[in-house]
């Protein structure tokens, strides 16, 4: 999609895309309803969708912006914990949990991104990794959310419509972002930071923007993850 950014998109192709997406959704939903897709396959579907969201959001930071960030699991943990606190402990609806998880992860990404994105290469990698570790250690030491054992007894809320909608929203947002002037600025930062700064691009601003959007979608993935696998433990994601 990135390649043919100059091409005019017709209404026909848009309608065909919508129909194909809706048909895929309906097909899988029907298969789930009549019992063709059993529990095991549903878990696989959830796992696939969540990993797609994570990979696409990490690709925005590591691939398009070219900033090696190793703290993505930390943002996922922030999103998962915030959403579970809202849905399970405060009895809020799932959508509120998802939005709050995204926003919390985005705020965490902003707070981490602003100081660390001045660094380059190895230094940026180790600083983001360090922040990811700090998030893990802090979450593990809050007894209100289960301490090192993690959160247990989460109500299952993530269903196929949620997963499908989340994947579509993630891909749409990131593809449209990369096709906009913001996207071209982000790619220019990756290709040559000094040259793009000379052309008048505020490189720090675009790096932080990409970082925050990536972190928000990691938070979304975390929120969905916690409500489908029904427990969340920080160790699982940082102990690679």
């Amino acid at each position: 999609v990135i390649g043919n950014a100059g091409k005019e998109k017709t209404w026909l192709s848009f309608i065909i895309e919508v129909i194909v997406l809706a048909a895929l959704f309906t097909l899988v939903q029907y298969a789930i309803t009549i019992g063709l897709v059993n529990q095991s396959y549903q878990i696989n579907l959830a796992s696939m969708s969540i990993n797609i969201i994570l990979a696409v959001s990490l690709n925005l930071i590591n691939g398009f912006t070219g900033q090696l960030s190793l703290g993505h699991a930390g943002f996922m943990a922030v999103g998962a914990y915030v959403s579970v606190i809202l849905t399970n402990m405060l009895d809020m609806p799932f959508i509120a949990g998802i939005i709050a998880g995204c926003l919390a992860a985005g705020v965490a990404g902003f707070l981490i991104g602003v100081p660390t994105l001045r660094l380059k290469g190895d230094y940026l990698a180790i600083a983001t990794l360090g922040f990811g570790e700090i998030i893990r250690v802090v979450l593990q030491n809050i007894d209100a959310v289960g301490g090192p054992a993690g959160i247990l007894g989460i109500t299952k809320m993530t269903t196929w419509p949620w997963l499908y909608a989340a994947v579509i929203v993630t891909i749409l947002v990131i593809v449209n972002l990369m096709n906009s002037s913001y996207g071209r600025a982000i790619i220019s930062v990756r290709e040559d930071e000094i040259a793009s700064e000379l052309m008048g691009i505020n490189t720090t601003r675009y790096k932080v923007l990409a970082f925050v959007i990536g972190a928000m979608f990691a938070g979304l993935a975390g929120a969905l993850y916690a409500h489908v696998f029904l427990y969340y433990k920080t160790r699982k994601h940082s102990d690679f």
């Binding site: 100081p115 600083a127 000094i194």
Partner: protein
């Protein structure tokens, strides 16, 4: 499986400045002392967090590490 010790070694090297041998040694000393102090006087659960926190502080104040030389960038 050895990830954390490996990371700590990298942190020590960055702390002193990458490519500078005395810096790496001093970085190792600082990391070791710091972790022991935090475990002894504070909360041993926060040991890793404090180690990485100090690293980030150093990187923000002096991005080349404690003994690093400031070299200009060639364009």
């Amino acid at each position: 499986m050895g990830i954390i010790p490996g990371l700590k070694a990298f942190v020590a090297a960055v702390l002193g400045g990458i490519g500078i041998i005395p810096g790496a040694m001093v970085g190792g000393f600082v990391m070791g002392l710091l972790e022991t102090m935090v475990s002894g006087y504070g909360n041993s659960l926060y040991r890793d967090a404090v180690a990485f926190g100090v690293l980030i502080l150093i990187l923000l104040i002096k991005p080349t590490g404690l003994f690093g030389k400031n070299t200009g960038e060639k364009v």
